[in-house]
């Protein structure tokens, strides 16, 4: 485990050093990502400015949902580039090299690239989260703060699990499929609003298939102290790590199934 961590640090340092060779380009790209995500917040703000609330949730309350899911996704986005680009890797036959090295494939892929420009998204998410936690709608206790941090961590696991599944599908289709975007970007958008506004089948998919509500809506309800028995909100986030573990099992099956394209 320690060995793995040391290796990851070495990978990350190499990736960061490489990117810092093009400092101006990275800064520009990070600013671009920041503005792009900020524009989405502007759109959400405009909706609350006009309509006041959605299903009883006000802007500061919805900002908690928004901040939690944005930060979770952004962390996963920074880490997960290797899985994200996995389709291209399979196509080019480059995965053979990964298999040859005596280290876990997952570690190598996560360590492959730490995309600094995606920090723009993380910073934007943290700003929204900062607004949500300081605006005064939440009656803070140590336990609630711990739940917030834990739920965000579990959210990172959920999104990573999705990324692993997306990469796993490339073993069979030899290309990363855009179909997964419906869950990642679709989930990122729908997670900004309280779950009860969606139809039952939609909620089922985003709770039991891809456990987005478990790491976002349910803990947020517990943190805000509104409705629903709090215990659900405390236990639900664990679905995130469970989802990741299941995805990694499928990944192992995929690795065994792998046949090089030979190119």
């Amino acid at each position: 485990m320690q060995d793995a961590l040391r290796l990851y640090r070495a990978y990350a340092a190499a990736s960061i050093r490489g990117q810092l060779q093009y400092r101006a380009s990275i800064v520009m790209a990070a600013i671009g990502t920041f503005v792009a995500t900020a524009a989405e917040s502007v759109a959400v703000w405009a909706l609350f400015d006009r309509f006041g609330q959605i299903h009883g949730w006000t802007l500061p309350q919805a900002a908690l949902l928004y901040g939690m899911i944005s930060v979770s996704y952004a962390v996963c986005d920074v880490l997960g580039r290797g899985f994200d680009a996995f389709g291209a890797m399979v196509k080019a036959g480059d995965f053979d090299r990964v298999l040859l090295r005596p280290r876990s494939t997952v570690l190598q892929l996560i360590g492959q690239d730490l995309v600094l420009r995606r920090l723009g998204r993380l910073i934007q998410g943290l700003i929204v989260l900062g607004y949500a936690v300081t605006v005064g709608t939440i009656d803070w206790t140590i336990a609630r703060a711990a739940l917030l941090i834990g739920a965000i961590g579990c959210g990172v696991c959920a999104f990573l699990g999705l990324l692993v599944l997306q990469a796993t599908s490339a073993f069979w289709t030899v290309d990363s499929l855009e179909v997964w975007n419906a869950f990642t970007y679709g989930g990122l958008m729908m997670g900004r609003y309280p779950m009860p506004i969606y139809r039952r089948w939609f909620r089922t998919v985003f709770t039991y298939v891809f456990p987005l509500a478990c790491v976002n809506y349910l803990p947020a309800v517990a943190i805000l102290g509104i409705g629903a028995p709090a215990i659900t909100g405390w236990l639900a986030p664990l679905a995130g790590p469970v989802f990741l573990v299941v995805s990694l099992q499928l990944w192992r099956i995929g690795v065994r199934h792998y046949r090089s394209t030979g190119s």
Binding site: A29, A182, Y193, I197
Partner: protein
């Protein structure tokens, strides 16, 4: 211009069009994603409408639903990405060959943009319209559907405004491609541009939902002409009588942006540096 002078551009459009039609798998995957997006957006707007007084609702929910589906169906028409081939040409230096072609360069790039904006749209729009217009009502979600335009005049007006929107969208697309000559395809600049278009065209949220004080400025910017204005004519939110003003705005911006693009392209080409050998 005579028909003969236009022939090379028609040939470019049709060749690029046929090439872009090959990306069917991407279109199907994109379609699925946009379907989920469309459904989520409709549920969000419906919740907003249910929990607010009618006074703050700038358009009827049925109109809003049509607006959302048109946006998802016509997404590929939005000038939101660069032409990957032009980017590669700028980076590799192959752009020098473009200068050797016996046609007007701006016209050539505009023709490429026409194909880039129509081929993927044709692939994606038809199935989306079938789903939103016919399948949704069958599934018992008639209030979510893409309703037909309220009158023949609205339908005809939409067709005219959509044609003008395409001309405008292509003018903006070419401008973005020209900007590559200065930025060499830097991700940051492209993302900034994409965001501006998504926010101000009505894709992110329908423009009538923005605060009242912003409406004037939003309507006069070129981006509204690409999505928002044609969609509102379709839904009957703008009267068919407003068509003349809409077309004037769209075509006015198209002419202005084409002039700007020609000027910038001329300047860019004078300072073109061929990268590598």
């Amino acid at each position: 211009m005579t028909g003969g002078a236009l022939r090379p551009y028609r040939a470019i459009i049709s060749a690029r069009f046929r090439m872009l039609l090959q990306y069917r798998a991407a279109a199907i995957a994109g379609l699925w994603t946009q379907l989920v997006f469309g459904l989520a957006l409709i549920m969000i707007y419906q919740a907003l409408y249910r929990s607010s007084p009618a006074a703050v609702q700038p358009m009827a929910f049925a109109q809003l639903a049509s607006y959302v589906w048109l946006g998802q169906a016509l997404l590929a028409m939005l000038p939101w990405n660069v032409d990957a081939e032009v980017r590669d040409m700028v980076r590799s230096g192959a752009i020098a060959y473009e200068l050797a072609r016996p046609v007007d360069l701006y016209g050539l790039w505009y023709a490429r943009a026409v194909a880039q904006r129509t081929a993927p749209t044709v692939l994606r729009a038809a199935p989306m319209v079938v789903f939103a217009g016919f399948v949704l009502p069958l599934l018992g979600a008639a209030d979510w559907q893409l309703a037909p335009p309220p009158s023949l005049a609205a339908g005809a007006g939409f067709v005219a405004a959509l044609a003008a929107a395409l001309a405008l969208s292509c003018a903006i697309s070419v401008l973005v491609n020209i900007s590559l000559m200065w930025t060499l395809g830097s991700d940051g600049v492209v993302v900034l541009f994409t965001t501006t278009v998504a926010l101000l065209s009505g894709l992110m949220i329908p423009l009538p939902l923005f605060p009242g004080w912003a409406q004037g400025a939003l309507g006069w910017l070129p981006f509204a002409g690409v999505f928002d204005l044609p969609f509102r004519i379709y839904a009957g939110h703008l009267a068919a009588g407003d068509l003349a003003i809409v077309l004037a705005r769209q075509l006015g911006w198209t002419v202005a942006l084409i002039a700007l693009g020609r000027w910038l392209l001329g300047r860019g080409m004078r300072r073109v540096v061929v990268q590598g050998g």
